[in-house]
Symmetry: C2
DNA sequence: CTTGGAAAGTCAACAAGGCTGACGTAAATC
DNA sequence: GATTTACGTCAGCCTTGTTGACTTTCCAAG
């Protein structure tokens, strides 16, 4: 790979290349969500439910405020989703023992099964893509994504990474 | 690039690594849309308008059906957005000369200026990310994204790439 | 020339999932 | 005791997606 020197290795920073990157993100994100979306629409759930399930799975016992911050939505919006998940027995909400104002969220067995079903579908595509391009490309992929995040989200992301590792 | 051998180079394919990739996509996509979104909300436009402007800019003279296929929405949904863009003088719709049923879409000067404003914001973030990680990582990024797309979308993407190169 | 069907546009109704604003309650904290 | 925090909820709005039905325009095949 020809590398950065004077002004020659910078061809990857042209507007044209950046536009291609933008389009790649757009089309790839569609693929990224397509498989779980297909499963979700067979029930009465949407992408918002999937996101909640994902992060509760990832950080069991997380509080509502914490989830709010990670998802970047209002509590009214989250509550609508969380309400149905709790009513359907996918999520359990538990009063905090240290601070009883807080609610700690957990997946039930049923919720865990659903989360796994959704994640399996999403991971299958990721795995195929990863396998097709190899570890070096994957590392680059992760580096670019991390660099694209808002600083706040990068911190949230890294906190999850550590916790989940 | 250290490659797949027995079972050691495959650590990047673990569920844990795949989950991190999924989260990276989620947070990065938020960053990806954040800057144009901020501009759009000052007018009466949304992300759907941005997407239409982007692809009309990219493929001037494209037809409505073609745009429909690329964006993956219904004509009713696209039409609502296109209607406002045309009424506001950002997009010009021209009857096809070969086939007069088709409408060919073009940006007006005003529309081009808006598209550039939105793209500039989005590209600035991409450029910063690209610059921060270097060309090799960017190549990996593009490879993974392309591998994640649905085949149909990959073809649409590659057609755009060639056309726009 | 007629007719079938494709391309486009439009109307109506609906749903998901964002948002704001206001208000209530319980618990912690000052 | 007063204030602040965390959460829940009601009401209403917007964007952007959906389906279904219908019309107009027009190409092309019979």
């Amino acid at each position: 790979m020809a590398e950065t020197s004077g002004g020659e290795g910078l061809l990857y920073l042209t507007d044209e290349q950046l536009r291609k990157g933008i389009e790649a993100m757009f089309f790839a994100y569609r693929g990224f969500t397509a498989d779980p979306d297909r499963i979700l629409e067979t029930m009465e759930y949407g992408r918002a439910h999937h996101r909640a399930l994902h992060f509760i799975h990832r950080a069991p016992g997380t509080t509502v405020s914490n989830l709010l911050a990670i998802l970047g939505v209002t509590k009214q919006s989250l509550n609508r989703v969380l309400r149905t998940l709790i009513d359907d027995g996918h999520v359990r909400s538990e009063k905090g023992r240290k601070d009883a104002r807080e609610r700690h969220l957990f997946l039930t067995e049923k919720g865990d099964a659903l989360e796994r079903q959704l994640s399996d579908a999403q991971r299958a595509r990721m795995r195929a893509a990863y396998r097709a391009v190899g570890p070096a490309a994957v590392q680059g992929f992760r580096q670019v994504l991390e660099a694209m995040m808002d600083p706040d989200m990068r911190h949230a992301y890294n906190r999850l990474k550590e916790g989940g590792a």
